[in-house]
Point group: C2
Chain length 175, copies 2
């Protein structure tokens, strides 16, 4: 399960978007973790497959293991780091499920009691966040509560998470 | 990846609840798929780990592969069967994330355009459904729109899905 293999790409994509390396906080042979343009809770990040594939059913078994193993490690580390008590994991697998970027990605959200008045609202926020990335905007009803972040803020968060994973004994560049 | 190994239990649990075998539509060495007391869309089912564990981080690598491989197969089969175009996958991992049954489970929901007025609402409904199972009820704001099903209805759906998986070349009793 573990190897010290390190992948260094000079290019990271999230669907049609280029993702700066500074925003990638972990990478494995088949996946990477990226910070979010509009996190809806502290530590809301995405874990994506390295290969640009639209639908979850197209993952190979190796990709499935890799992306979920990474998401699980990231979730555990972020939950502790943010003093949270639970996690939400969600995949919007296809446009009718709210997917706006045609590239498999797992939303990982550290959760704590009362972070949303009703638990339901976290998903409203996830959807709004996803629509913000995808360019749609008409239904951004929670937009006023959040701010689109600068590349510098996002790079800083990625650096923090990378360090955090290392400190928790997780090599962000290996599986 | 495939084997013809068949597990036959005489007992299935979902947290503290006993699940009749008739409501189990697929099983693998480490997981099984069960129909839902209050599905929020046609084909809304749960995929659970055979071992009763509360948090996703406690899954072994074998369990993680097993439960997600099964969820992926079930999702693909149900999407086609229900004429859907997308899927929502969600894990409420811990009470603060809306988990009411302390047993890792993946919600799998076939989705189609317009099944909810806003995509967000599907999650409200998932949460309400989960609270119904867990016994909480104060916040069941969508309750009026759905009906708790009889054991017979649930067994019939499980039988349909089991057949469906077989017809799609997926052995519901093997991995």
């Amino acid at each position: 399960m573990s190897s010290s293999r390190t992948i260094v790409n000079d290019h990271y994509s999230f669907g049609p978007l280029d993702i700066p390396r500074s925003q990638v906080f972990a990478e494995t042979p088949l996946s990477y973790g990226i910070v979010n343009l509009k996190p809806v809770v502290p530590g809301h990040v995405l874990v994506v497959t390295r290969r640009i594939i639209k639908r979850f059913e197209s993952l190979t078994e190796d990709e499935l293991v890799d992306v979920w193993t990474l998401a699980k490690k990231v979730g555990s580390a972020l939950e502790k780091h943010h003093g949270a008590t639970s996690l939400t994991y969600a995949i919007q697998d296809g446009p009718s499920a709210g997917q706006t970027i045609p590239h498999v990605h797992i939303h990982v959200l550290p959760r704590r009691d009362g972070d949303f008045e009703n638990n339901d609202e976290v998903y409203d926020a996830v959807d709004a966040s996803e629509r913000a990335i995808g360019g749609g905007g008409e239904r951004l009803n929670l937009d006023a509560e959040r701010v689109i972040r600068t590349p510098e803020e996002m790079a800083a968060e990625a650096a923090t998470i990378r360090k955090l994973l290392f400190n928790n004994g997780v090599n962000p560049n290996a599986r």
